[in-house]
């Protein structure tokens, strides 16, 4: 996806403040990547009513009702394996290795859903787990190519969605800049002066790779998707001075 589109998308994910805006963002994700559906599932969000599940997806009400009625959360391999694994899960593999869970996939087809998908496990600082899934009906080869290219972006989207859910659940995600380090602030300061990562690397005498690394951390900690936003937020929070 084009960098600008991706940034705008994650920006929206970071700004979710209600289920309504969240629905809009999920739909944007779906459209921009050409997915048929996307779904976020929080597994053990602190403070949520037991068992701590938080569903937010583009599925139909009919499927959601059916899923709950059939208690699929207990046998859905997507949920189980995402709790148990770190790597992104390919649904084709899940069906292969969990034949007993085929029921879920079969019945999903009855509701017009597709059984080709990818799930990204999310791990949080409070030990919470979530999973972000995307499904598609494009030909397999195209799907493999798409997922190969966009897994990193999906990791970022998943994490920002998760952070927004925590925020909505009134859980502190620490995006007030308290976790920023001196090198990160320094890189943000030079970015505020209009310096590129390369310029900054020359000035502070580290590799360009290291500057990018510091900025990647700074962006995530400030819950921002672009360096420009992170700079603006850092200034607003009083962490760096106006250039």
């Amino acid at each position: 996806m084009l960098r600008a589109e991706f940034q705008s998308l994650v920006d929206k994910a970071a700004a979710i403040d209600s289920r309504a805006t969240g629905d809009g963002v999920l739909d944007s994700i779906r459209q921009l990547y050409g997915f048929s559906h996307v779904a976020y599932l929080g597994i053990n969000i602190p403070g949520q009513k037991l068992p701590g599940f938080y569903f937010h997806n583009t599925y139909s009400d009919a499927w959601r009702r059916h899923y709950l009625l059939r208690n699929f959360i207990l046998i859905d391999p997507v949920v189980r394996q995402s709790c148990l694994r770190l790597m992104p899960q390919d649904w084709a593999r899940l069906k292969q290795t969990h034949p007993e869970a085929r029921t879920v996939f079969h019945e999903a087809l009855d509701y017009g859903l597709h059984d080709q998908g990818i799930s990204i496990p999310v791990r949080g600082v409070h030990g919470e787990i979530a999973v972000f899934s995307a499904t598609s009906d494009v030909p397999r080869r195209q799907w493999l190519q798409l997922t190969k290219v966009c897994t990193g972006e999906l990791q970022t989207i998943a994490a920002f969605l998760h952070q927004s859910v925590l925020k909505q659940c009134r859980i502190d995600i620490g995006d007030d800049g308290r976790a920023l380090s001196k090198p990160e602030l320094e890189c943000l300061r030079w970015a505020a002066e209009g310096k590129s990562a390369w310029d900054t690397s020359v000035i502070i005498k580290v590799s360009e790779r290291t500057v990018k690394f510091h900025l990647a951390n700074a962006r995530y900690k400030l819950h921002c998707v672009t360096t420009t936003q992170a700079v603006a937020k850092a200034i607003t929070l009083g962490l760096i001075a106006w250039p």
Partner: protein, 212 residues
């Protein structure tokens, strides 16, 4: 051969897991004299309970000769919780596209004559980590490593940047460093260690949900 095993599966792979913990004891306790806990010959710590992804290198007869442990930096990890003083003051590494590699252990065969810049086991283990990183869509992997390992990698043209100052740990100096997950790094590692290509055990790829 690269084996991938999740912490949650340790009971399914008792031989590999045992060999890994013993290898870690040999490297971190006996060789490097790091302040680690060894019980009944196993080196094990709290991060093993967080369901990490273990990357192992096994030889043809199944012997575990190398191992490392991966954790996402969005959750608890060693750099955040144990090695804080190896990072610049107040620095915390946290990003959905950065994982941490820890307990990197390699047991060299003293009879093996090394012709490449990086030993095949080290190269295979590093290559395995980078391959996992690329598949997971990561930008970087961070790690605490011995400066001797850092030197070997630099000389072999495998770029690795320091993100902190070296500190004495045990018998040597350790430093926090970062690797960018690129195809170029993977090629460099394979070239420098004389490896052909991916060698992930197909059963693990299938079981862990990696796309075919």
């Amino acid at each position: 051969m690269i084996r991938l095993i999740q912490g949650s599966e340790r009971r399914k792979f008792p031989a590999e897991i045992e060999a890994m913990h013993r290898l870690r004891a040999a490297v971190f306790h006996e060789r490097m004299a790091w302040p680690v806990t060894v019980l009944d010959g196993w080196e094990r710590d709290g991060f093993d309970e967080l369901n990490p992804l273990y990357v192992l290198v096994t030889t043809r007869d199944g012997t575990v000769r190398g191992s490392a442990r991966l954790l996402p930096t969005t959750g608890p990890n060693m750099l955040a919780d144990v090695f804080r003083d190896l990072l610049p003051e107040g620095k915390e590494v946290r990003s959905p596209t950065i994982w941490e590699s820890s307990r990197f252990s390699v047991l060299h065969d003293p009879h093996e004559h090394q012709v490449c810049q990086i030993s095949p086991i080290t190269g295979e283990l590093l290559g395995g980590i980078v391959e996992v990183g690329i598949r997971a869509g990561l930008e970087f992997v961070v790690t605490v490593m011995d400066v001797a390992v850092e030197r070997v990698l630099r000389r072999a043209g495998c770029p690795c940047d320091r993100i902190g100052s070296p500190r004495r740990i045990g018998r040597g100096l350790a430093v926090a460093g970062l690797f960018e997950m690129t195809d170029e790094l993977l090629s460099s590692i394979r070239r420098a260690s004389g490896l052909d290509g991916s060698n992930v055990y197909p059963g693990d790829a299938e079981r862990l949900g990696l796309a075919a």
